[in-house]
Assembly symmetry: C2
Homo-oligomer: 222 residues x 2
């Protein structure tokens, strides 16, 4: 069945992962079009994809005639066009708190460790795999430490980052925790994060958005 | 006169600069408390400041009993609590476009070049000043190139990034252009950006938010 919503995605992209979770939470059907970020020098650099997304990054969401880029802008858009269930609380202070948590990850953790940055520290500074891993651990640990502190001191923290239903901050947190595990970042000091990550993992919307569940994920090695 | 709004700021921080512009556009009086990011190893790492902002970054905006962090969350908060003049358009597609432009800078340019990242490439990879400048030019050029392309192809682009009044995308753009000039990033290929930056510079709200206008800016050398 054709869908009005088309998501240009890569299975392991944290930013695409966020949008997949949000689409699933909203119960929206969408078609995945895979953009392989590594093969052939990166399919995101093709002329056809660059015409959709001038940053040559994933994700891009196409909603009919609208071409939407930047995952956090897409989450806000989905919450405005499909308000139920909400990704943000209704009160001003709560919204500011959830957006701040989200942006700890979206602005200050994820951008420092995505593929193009790891490629750049390799090219410019000759970083090898171990140095790239140390770089990742440095930024992910700093961000998750702050995130955990914010959760621990907030009156809003519940079963999820804000209250007892998943929302925007959870949508940002889960892909970052997935990524942290991939890079073997120690997580033992973050009990709230681990607890919330586990609560999310039990939700179908999060499970179905996991990298390994995507049509472009490689088959498991045997 | 005491103010209910207190901004913890550093004169040259792009993220604090954004919030200063927004406060000025909204006509809001605020008290500046300077946090010197370099002196004494960085005042943002003091226990008192870390209690306000667990990321130990500027800005933090205190609004009465509310402690707000993350500049983009603060912009959204100010737009909700003080709607006039608006930082975002009213239509869904326009809002998504303005937020995407804003996040090109807030998520994919600025975080890669702030002080802590430049310190880290120095510490971890031994980058000297010239290598730090090359790193900055790489990321700022990539981001501004995409931003210019998005402006050039959008039906929304006017005297400012969206139409003929300044808004959230301009609030993000101007500090990044200031930063680009500081690092001598060539800007000749970005005619829309230069035109909009000049239009903003003529506005009092932007002028008063400039780093050199801040109480914590160093005196000019003679």
């Amino acid at each position: 069945m054709a869908s009005d919503l088309v998501l240009y995605s890569y299975w392991r992209s944290s930013a695409a992962f966020r949008v997949r979770i949000a689409l699933n939470l909203k119960g929206l059907h969408y078609e995945t079009r895979a953009v392989h970020l590594v093969r052939d020098g990166g399919e995101q650099h093709s002329a056809a994809y660059a015409a959709l997304n001038p940053q040559e990054l994933v994700p891009t969401l196409v909603d009919g005639e609208r071409v939407l880029t930047q995952s956090m802008a897409i989450l806000e858009y989905l919450d405005e066009t499909h308000p139920q269930p909400p990704l943000l609380p209704t009160d001003q202070a709560g919204k500011a708190h959830v957006r701040a948590l989200s942006q700890v990850i979206a602005c200050d953790v994820h951008p420092l460790g995505n593929l193009r940055v790891l490629q750049q520290i390799g090219t410019q500074f000759g970083a090898d795999d171990e140095q790239k891993a140390a770089w990742m651990r440095h930024w992910v640990s700093a961000g998750l430490h702050a995130f955990e502190t914010m959760l621990a001191k907030s009156k809003y923290t519940g079963r999820y980052c804000h209250g007892d239903t998943p929302g925007m901050a959870d949508v940002c947190l889960v892909p970052q925790v997935y990524n942290a595990r991939r890079w073997k970042v120690p997580l033992g000091d973050y009990p709230n994060i681990l607890r919330i990550d586990a609560a999310c993992a039990a939700q179908q919307a999060f499970h179905d958005a996991m990298p390994e569940q995507q049509p472009d994920a490689p088959s498991p090695s045997v």
